[in-house]
């Protein structure tokens, strides 16, 4: 067993012991069982006033029906074209061979004021309980109330990360 000494005036010294997930056998809940991720750098923009799909999506297959899925969508560069608009960003979910349906509004009233400086980024996290061992797809949908809303622009990166959390 590696020895780690904590020096209260100098902080920790010595090497930390190697650790991997298989060593966490005494934890009864909360293990991260798997991680999936996807990202894009391309522009994603819409003039649609109803929810339409972007290219940002990812899939995870839970190992147990009791697992929870931590869904995180982060980054990007919001913008507008043709005048002020209010963009809405939603997370849609599809289980197995079903169809996509709205899961959660991730970002609402993303006001892009013409002449202003609003270039909002998204920082969204939720814990989902899909109650299935079928493949679960998460996809970002967007819409605008007027003009053109950019969910992402100018080569910014926006990512989606899915973590299966053991119950």
């Amino acid at each position: 067993m590696a020895l780690v000494k904590l020096n209260c005036t100098r902080g920790m010294t010595g090497n930390l012991p190697a650790l991997n997930g298989s060593a966490l056998t005494n934890l009864s809940a909360g293990k991260v069982l798997q991680v999936q991720s996807g990202y894009l750098h391309s522009d994603q923009s819409t003039s649609a006033t109803s929810d339409t799909a972007t290219s940002l999506e990812d899939q995870i297959t839970p190992s147990a029906t009791s697992s929870k899925i931590l869904v995180m969508v982060d980054g990007g560069r919001g913008s507008y074209g043709g005048g002020t608009c209010e963009g809405v960003i939603k997370i849609y979910r599809k289980i197995g061979s079903g169809s996509y349906s709205e899961l959660r509004v991730a970002h609402n009233d993303s006001v892009q004021e013409a002449g202003g400086y609003g270039k909002p980024t998204i920082a969204f996290t939720m814990l989902d309980s899909p109650n299935t061992t079928d493949a679960v797809d998460y996809k970002v949908y967007i819409k605008t109330n007027a003009n053109t809303f950019y969910f992402n622009s100018s080569g910014a990166q926006v990512s989606i990360v899915l973590m299966e959390i053991g119950a």
Binding site: S42, D43, Q44, S45, T46, S47, A48, T49, S50, D51, T52, A53, T54, S55, G81, G82, Y92, Y100, S101, E102, Y141, I142, K143, T148, Y150, S153, S154
Partner: protein, 72 residues
């Protein structure tokens, strides 16, 4: 003006208030055929757009769009 800004400006010159979503850029005819989701209606839930990759607007063609984009 960026390429995607030129696309939107040219699109609205050809047909104002047309509703679509663009995933990526529209620089070629392939992009025009593959990167645009044209809204054709709304699903029964009242929220989700019914979309198609096939352009349903006769006023809008890749040739006309490219011409307008090249003027910008």
């Amino acid at each position: 003006m960026s390429n995607i800004e030129k696309f939107w400006t040219a699109l609205f010159i050809l047909k104002d208030k047309v509703e679509c979503t663009v995933n990526g850029d529209v620089l070629t005819e392939d992009d025009f055929n593959n990167n645009i989701l044209w809204k054709t209606g709304i699903e029964a839930n009242g929220k989700t757009a019914i979309v198609t990759n096939t352009n349903p607007h006769s006023e809008i063609t890749w040739t006309k769009l490219k011409e307008e984009m090249d003027k910008l």
